[in-house]
Structure formats: structure tokens, C-alpha cells
Amino acid sequence: KVPKPTKDEEEGVDTGDGWDEWSHGKALTKPADQLELTEAELKEEITRILTANNPHAPQNIVRYSFKERSYKPTSVVDQMAVHFVLEGSLLHQDSDEARRLRAKEECGLQDRPDSVASKTDKKEPKLTNQFNFSERASQTLNNPLRERSCQTEPPPRSIFSATANQWEIYDVYVEELQKQEKNKEKQKAIPSKKDNEKSKKKMMLMETQGDDFTKVGKASKIFERMVNQNTFDDIAQDFKYFEDASDEFRDQEGTLLPLWKFQYDKAKRLSVTALCWNNKYQDLFAVGMGSYDFSKQGRGMLVFYSLKNSAFPEYIYPTNSGVLCLHIHEQHSHLIAVGFYDGCVAVYNLKEEGLEPVYKSTAKTGKHTDPVWQVRWQNDDMDNNHNFYSVSSDGRVVSWTLVKVMLDASCPQLVVQRLTFHKQIDYLFLVGTEEGKIHKCSKTYSSQFLETYNAHSMAVDAVKWNPFHPKVFISCSSDWTVKIWDHTINTPMFTFDLNAAVGDVSWSPYSSTVFAAVTTDGTVHVFDLNINKYEAICQQSVVAKKKTKLTHIEFNPIYPIIIVGDDRGYVTSLKLSPNLRKKPKAKKGQELPKGPEVEIAKMEKLLSLLREPEQNAV
């Protein structure tokens, strides 16, 4: 049912009746979505009022009154809603504006035919009005517009980015410089075209083989060392920084701290027959491998290790015969002289590729007939040729000079085993023999000895001059003794009994009174004559298995470590504790004097102590 609206009678709208008639005339249709209302709600009368109020006008305007200093609501609000405004151009005749216009027209212009003034003047003015006005215009034919365009292929684009750093600029400059230098060289030499083509082809081949590992060769070498350093980190730290603090409590004695152990798989059955440190690269040392047992002779090896990589050697040279001795040239540390069991001597050059020695002696050039026990480089002779001496048990001391061919000079018949040259006095050298005697000889007198010492009862294993004191040398032998001599005196100054055959003895490079010896029972003995004249200040067993014999020992020229070789092919490095490296204490107030003079003076003092009682006795 349609709700019955009642309307206000103010507006005078028909109410009631008309609606009833209309509603009865038609059938009631109910739309589907008609709101459902209850009977009560349907009967409810809703009042709708039409008023003259503007529904959009605001009802509660509030204005601020400065007089009363507060907001006051305005009661009267304009209810007018403007729907349409048109500004007209009609003027009232009697208005000011109209009068002004008339005055203007009367003055001059009377053009306008449809002005009111002209109308009134003329009799029958033309009836023109604004409603009967036609405008004429004409337009030319506009050509139809058609758009035509053509597009070229866009130039290829690529995104380029780069950084401008100092080093990029530097690189470019260096490249430019190299190009310029190449151009200069090209101008000087005119290469043949064929060579160019061949070299180009080679270049192409290399590139197509492509991913070549050799390009990371250097890096891989560094990495091997780094990886080793990581694994043996504690050893590396010990080597560099560890100082045994317990030495202070240990009175005068010292200890040896084991560091790296070097071994090579393929040299397992060989024993270490020679050790030598490299003077220039003090972490590099050479190991000669062979066998002392005359029944077990076979091949040998020359192996170089660096302290930086204890897992694998730096250089490996396999040899036909066991190596018995080697020596690295003091100045040219890439040249190594090697003596073999079969009597040959050879010189290896580390700078060259290839596993063969650069020089080798043969039967023709006068190789020894017996094993070569010692080789020693000499200073370059007057023609700047390198030369070295070799000693062998066939009794000859031979001097070899490296010219294109090998030359030699021979010496008197001795059953020689060991040889050592004096540092300062060039021509003086000592030889130790298998019988136990030591002979002092001179290069100039090749047929006679200057002096003979009855040193030992068994073969002399090592003879070495003291690096500081010019008169002192040391010798060791399989008769269990180590003896220290003054070469002007026929009897030893000091004798030490070590309870086992002494394989090798070596002076330390930092002190004239410190030396170390190794014995066949696997012990290292370190002596410091300044501290204790009768006993070793350190006796330490350094081998894992009891039966291994230590064969050689060498002090490192700068680091406080020693390397010890044994007959199983191992080389062990040991760090000397502070007690073993003592320097003389400075007196209060005095500066500690340094240099070899101090060392010499130290030794001299010791010797004089020994000599005095002798003189007294005499």
C-alpha cells in the first residue's frame, strides 16, 4: 500500500481527494523490493512540509562581535538561493549612464543606425534589430589532414658503466706508455710477416684451449702455504713469538722446542746426508738424501724445503746416486754444489727448469773414484769464475772451476773425509781424515801439510772453524768426543764426551761460544762455553723412535732455530730457548757492545783462562 502523504495547505496543493481517485483507478501493484512495514507503521502519518527556506543556507552562523568580545549567533540568515543571473545591457532612459551616452552620441558619432538617438532623428529609420541580423562568413576548403611519418631503425644501444678511480687512470697511462715503447721497438726491428702469422696462430691456439690453470699458478703456490699455515698455526706462532719463560727458573739450562717436521714420501728410505741453509732466503734449506750404508746404495735425492710450507718440498731433484754432501753458494744462492757416493760432483742451478744439473763431472773430467765427502764453494777467482773444492776418500782434494769445461787441481794423498775453509784467511783449510787425524793445509802448498793434529781415535766426522774467532775450530768423531782446538796449539782446548758417536757439530752464527752436536742415540747437545765449560746446557732427545740416528745439524743464520736430519729421511726443526742464546750481560751504565769483536773477545777470554794454567804448569 502506498503511504498517504498529507501536505501542508500553505502551498495550496491539492490533498486527499485527488489522490484517492487516482489510487482507486488503478490496480495496486506491489514492486518486488517494497519495504515491508507493519500495519501500525503503515498507518503512521508522516508529515512533509514545503517551506520557503533554502535548505542549503546555513542555519547557525556565528559571528564574532568585537563590541561584546564574544561569538554571537546571527539569527537572520539569508534564505535566498540564486539559480540564474544574467547581466543585461538595458539602461533606463533617465539614468545617469543613459544621459552620458546620449551626450556622447550627439557630439559626434551618429553611425549606429540602430541606436535610439539616430532612430528618433530620422524619419523612417531602417528597421534593423538584433533579431534580424545575419552574419555571413565564408571559409575556404580545408584540405583533409593526413598524418604520415617514417621511422628509422634506432641505433643500437648498450648500457655502459665504469668507475673512474685513481688506479684506472694509472692503468691507462701505463698501457699508453707500453704501446709507445712497443711502437719504438717496432720501428727499430722489422719482423718478417711469416713469423707474425705463426705467432698469431699460436696465440689463437692458446686462447681456444681456454681455461688454463697455469694462470693461477702463483696464487696456488701462495695458497698452499696459507693452508699449511692455517693447519700448523700454532707452530708458526711458536716459531715467531714463543719464548720459554721457564728458562728463568731452569738455572742455566735451555730447551729445544720442536717445530715443523719435514718429510717427503718418495724419500722415505733414504737418510739425510747433508743440510744447508740458503743465505739469501733464510727460510729455504737444502737436504741431501742418500745412504751411509755401503751395502744399500741406490738412488738419491736433492730436496729443498721452505719453512713456509712444511708439507711439500719447493724443489725436488732425483739423482742416480746417493747424495753425500752439498753446499749452497754464499753469494749466488741459486747454485748448489753436490757430491755423490759414486764420486761425481755436480752443480745445480735452481733458476733453471729441468731436473738435471747444469754441470756434472764424468770420468774424463776427473771425477773421484771414491765417495765425495765434502764440497765447499770458494770465492770467485780472479776471472770471476765460480769454483769449489771437493774432498773424497780416494785421497784427493780437488778444486773445480766452472768455466765451460771443468778443470781441476789435485792435492796430496790423504784418506780425507772432511774439509773446511777458513773464513778470513782464504788459503788456509783443514781436512779431517778417516784415521782420526786433522791436517792444516794451505792452498798454495799443495804437497805438504802445515800442521797435523792427532785428534781422534776414529774417523773425523766434522771439522769446522769458529765463525768469529780466527784461531778456533771444532771437530767431532765417532769416538764419542767433540774437541775444540786453537790451531796454534797441538792439543785440544776442550774435550767433551757425549756417550754416543757424534754425527755432526756446528757453531752457532750468533755467539762464538755456542755450538751444538748431534749423536747417533738421537740426542741434540747444545753447549755454551761462556756459561758452562764442562757440560752441555741442553741435552734433548728429538726423535720419535729410539733407533733413529741423527746425522746432521745446522743453525739458521738469522732465526733462532736449528734443523736436524736423521737416518730415516726426516728433518726436524727446533727452536732454541732463550737460555741457549744468551748474549753477554752489560755492566751497569755501560752500553752493550755489539759486533763480532765482542764474540772474539769472549772466546779469547776463555782461551786465555785455559792457557794460563798451562803456562803456569810449563
Binding site: Q166, W167, F213, T214, V216, A219, S220, F223, T231
Partner: protein
């Protein structure tokens, strides 16, 4: 060539080494003993880092150059060396 091959083999066999990767100039691993996806991941990431490190070193002194970059992490140590456009990466666990 054989020497480098041997050296790489020795490094791989060394105690604690987890893996080695050789990356060529295009950033593709050419030799590795890790699985391919790991190798590619390492190669890609470390390439940028190495270039940045190299740039830093050379920026300070253009005559200097980067030899090795060593990254010590909680679990292991990564060593990277750029050479001739190639990249050599070794991952080692030193505390085993």
C-alpha cells in the same frame, strides 16, 4: 700445467680443506671439488667482493695490487686470490 694441477691436488688433500674452486674470467667455475650449485654461488658472490677489495687497494696506491683476500668466519676460512683475470678460492676449516 702439471705442477699447478699437482699443487691444487695437494691443497685439496690437505687437512681441513673443504673445497677449492678455480673460476675463469667469465665467472664460471672450471675446476672444483664441491657441487656445482655451491661452486657457482661462491664464484658469483666472491667475484664482486674481490673486485671491490682490489679496487680499494689500488685506489689508495695504484702501484699496489691485491694478492690474497682472507675471510675468517665462525665456521671456516675462505681465501680468495685474483690472478690474471682468474679467481682461486680455497675454503678451509683450520681448527679441526
Amino acid at each position: 700445467m702439471a705442477e699447478v694441477e699437482e699443487t691444487l691436488k695437494r691443497i685439496e688433500a690437505h687437512k681441513g680443506v673443504i673445497g677449492t674452486i678455480v673460476v675463469n674470467a667469465e665467472g664460471i667455475p672450471i675446476r672444483t671439488n664441491l657441487d656445482n650449485s655451491t661452486a657457482v654461488q661462491y664464484a658469483g658472490l666472491l667475484r664482486h667482493l674481490t673486485m671491490l677489495a682490489r679496487s680499494t687497494v689500488r685506489d689508495i696506491d695504484p702501484q699496489n695490487d691485491l694478492i690474497v683476500l682472507r675471510i675468517r668466519t665462525k665456521k671456516y676460512e675462505i681465501m680468495v686470490a685474483p690472478e690474471n683475470g682468474f679467481l682461486l678460492i680455497v675454503i678451509q676449516n683450520p681448527c679441526e
